[in-house]
Symmetry: C2
Subunit: 435 residues, 2 copies
């Protein structure tokens, strides 16, 4: 029997136990910090030469020259031709749906005029260049290429640069094919903190970008934090999580498999089920025991469920919703009869999967919304990756003569209240000039 | 004569000189880092008791109990009644305009249904609680209270908590009055890294929030970086900057004063003018020499102009626009005859002040758009503070039975391609269930 914790919101120590269950602090120790700081210094100082050295050291192949680091567009296209037709069709279908959803997220500028002719507004522009980090080796996920690249291209980013390490020189055809179908503009076979540094500062061969997105190991995450400010970054993600809220009416095998689908990512992944039907919690526990031995990734799933999984008994629906809002999960399944009746009461969640037929896995690949989502309760203040992450805004102010004269009076009073007389006089000039 | 650098885009070393001029790296040294880390540890461990100790040590007054740390709403209202009527009217006018502009930034959710009944969408919700840091002492700016607080309230943040240090127990009536008119819900007389830690983790008396915004010194900035992840933060700002693009037709005294208005903030502030009219650059230089001796903050202005100011000669309008896009300035004045004809070519800027009558100072106080803007070239990838910083999004997916059956095929192919069979089986269950 897999030991998965059982909690009840009625327990006197529930608050302490749930806090304990959710506790997660990513630690990048001093050694990692120092290694990353040195790699960044080297790449800034020596450019391509440093990239060649690190690739040789960490990825165990030695580029003859910096030109060898680039994966030409023809190579991405070749990968597209090489993968099985079923995978090509699936990637195409997924890309199309992700693109269609992303189109709804595009925002455009606006402005309004006041009676005196003053114009106020907001101009929206895409980033010039974005960089997409894609992990190599075992954790190379083509779906992640689609999810990071497509919103950038929909936003209008002129140049999207992908970096992907190729340990021992090995290329992942599915990843290259995904890059092809996503519209990646240039790709380079580099990885680790050195790739992040190259994207942030540029080298002779790698163009510097304005923002770096995409998942990576602790070195990549630490490097992203370090270059933040020089460039933008997306969130540094914690382990993946799912919270299933179920009324007891969904097949317990389905729910068990949904919990597994999160737990199979890694031992730190978190799978939680909350229901007010105690019998249902028992049935899901039985399904877990029955199905676990049939899973390819049984050991990882079992370790994750033991360490960070839970079945939570709530008092009722309202109580379950409170649990969901407290956890603010990355993925939330509302596996209930009428999800539309309650979705408006969910205040914090990365993505909400509504109804018994919406397996979270559909969202991971092809439903349309992004699978890059806020983890570790950060849905309290952050959003899924989206087109808006590749657009930015500029405020617009155009004061008419009359408007300027009027505004300058208010500005002058407040500026003098703050002791900033150059501000006041700069405003007053326009007031006088308009009279 | 004030020595302000003269550059020309035609100079062979222009790229190196402009890069040198813009170079800015905020350094929080190891000592600051360690002090902040210890303060955060103490506040997490000892809560209110630590806040009382630090207030006593750093602000030189000793609260009798934690209750003394709160500034009751009645105290904010009293400040509102106490300030001169002209300031009250100016704050009210500014607040009203900032609110009206912010209302345009509110976004709401959307959804669409596909032919098979599958629903996709995005739900938009406000943060539950936000924390606003307001510096005390000399740099206490009431305008900054309005600019940070009003977008949060417009977004629908249920509880907005302000913290403001009161060195030697001294309260700034204008700041409290601004908090009153902005709708701040609770205020506490605490500051420094300890206030940021209290907002991030909560204490017995200070409610933990979901995001911390607002300016502060190096300790505050370092603390914000440290708690990022536990809570959201706004950008950590660098020195303030202005770039004026002028066609030579604006009164040179006005432009000189606009440059001063930025330079008077502090010695690191950056004021740059670019024009293709060499004679105009000379006339502004003459205005600078003429007006500087009349300025209250002459020494700061002079130091800032010497260290980081510049007059740049461009070849023509197109060249000047290239300069602006490279600098990606926090504040951009387009002091030209027809700004609307060129604003669409500005790709990167925090706020754009269009036309001869739009002094940047109007935007600092009362035009409506936010004065919290991306500095140090970060306008390449980030935006003014706005309502969107206090809202977040959740993706919505509700697959119909038919939709689920269809999507599960694609998800299954891609999941198996990634070796994630629990994902595949979770999707497949729904496909089978629908048949």
């Amino acid at each position: 029997m897999t030991e998965i914790k059982r909690l009840s919101t009625a327990d006197s120590d529930y608050q302490a136990r749930i806090a304990d269950l959710l506790a997660w602090e990513s630690v990048s120790d001093d050694r990692v910090q120092q290694t990353v700081a040195e790699i960044i210094r080297e790449v800034r100082a020596r450019g391509d030469a440093a990239l060649i050295d690190y690739t040789s050291r960490f990825d165990r192949w030695t580029p003859a020259s910096a030109a060898d680091l680039e994966l030409p567009k023809a190579r991405l296209e070749a990968a597209w031709g090489k993968i099985p037709a079923a995978q090509r069709a699936a990637l195409e279908k997924a890309a199309e749906r992700i693109r269609a959803y992303a189109e709804h997220q595009k925002t455009s500028g606006w402005s309004y005029r006041e009676p005196d002719g003053t114009l106020l507004g907001q101009q929206v522009t895409p980033l010039d260049r974005a960089g997409l980090y894609v992990p190599g080796g075992k954790a190379a996920y083509p779906s992640s290429v689609l999810m990071n690249a497509i919103p950038a291209k929909v936003a209008g980013v002129a140049e999207l640069i992908m970096v992907v390490p190729t340990p021992d020189g090995e290329l992942n055809e599915l990843v290259l094919a995904a890059a092809h179908v996503s519209g990646v503009d240039r790709a380079f076979a580099i990885g680790g903190a050195q790739a992040v540094a190259a994207l942030a500062y540029g080298t002779e061969s790698i163009p510097g970008v304005d923002k770096v997105v995409g998942p990576g190991n602790i070195y990549v995450a630490t490097a992203k934090r370090a270059v933040f400010g020089q460039v933008g970054i997306d969130m540094v993600a914690g382990p993946s999580e799912i919270l299933v809220v179920c009324d007891g009416g969904t097949d317990p095998d389905w729910i068990a498999m949904d919990l597994f689908s999160q737990a199979e990512h890694d031992e730190d992944a978190q799978s939680i089920l909350v229901s007010w039907d105690a019998g249902f919690l028992d049935r899901v526990a039985a399904s877990i025991d029955k199905l676990l031995p049939t899973m390819e990734r049984q050991e990882i799933i079992s370790a994750a469920l033991r360490a960070r999984g839970a079945l939570i008994q709530a008092r009722d629906l309202d109580d379950a919703i409170d649990v969901a809002n407290f956890i603010a999960p990355e993925h939330l399944e509302l596996s209930v009869e009428d999800p539309e009746a309650i979705v408006g009461r969910i205040r914090h969640a990365g993505a909400i999967f509504m109804g018994r037929y919406t397996a979270e896995a559909l969202g991971d690949y092809c439903a349309g919304p992004n699978h890059v989502l806020p983890t570790s309760r950060t849905a309290r203040f952050s959003s899924p990756l989206g087109v808006y992450d590749f657009q930015k805004r500029s405020s617009l102010i155009m004061a008419s003569r009359a408007g300027s004269a009027e505004l300058s009076k208010t500005a002058s009073v407040l500026a003098r209240g703050e002791g900033l007389t150059a501000h006041a006089r700069s405003a007053e000039y326009r007031g006088e000039g308009a009279e």
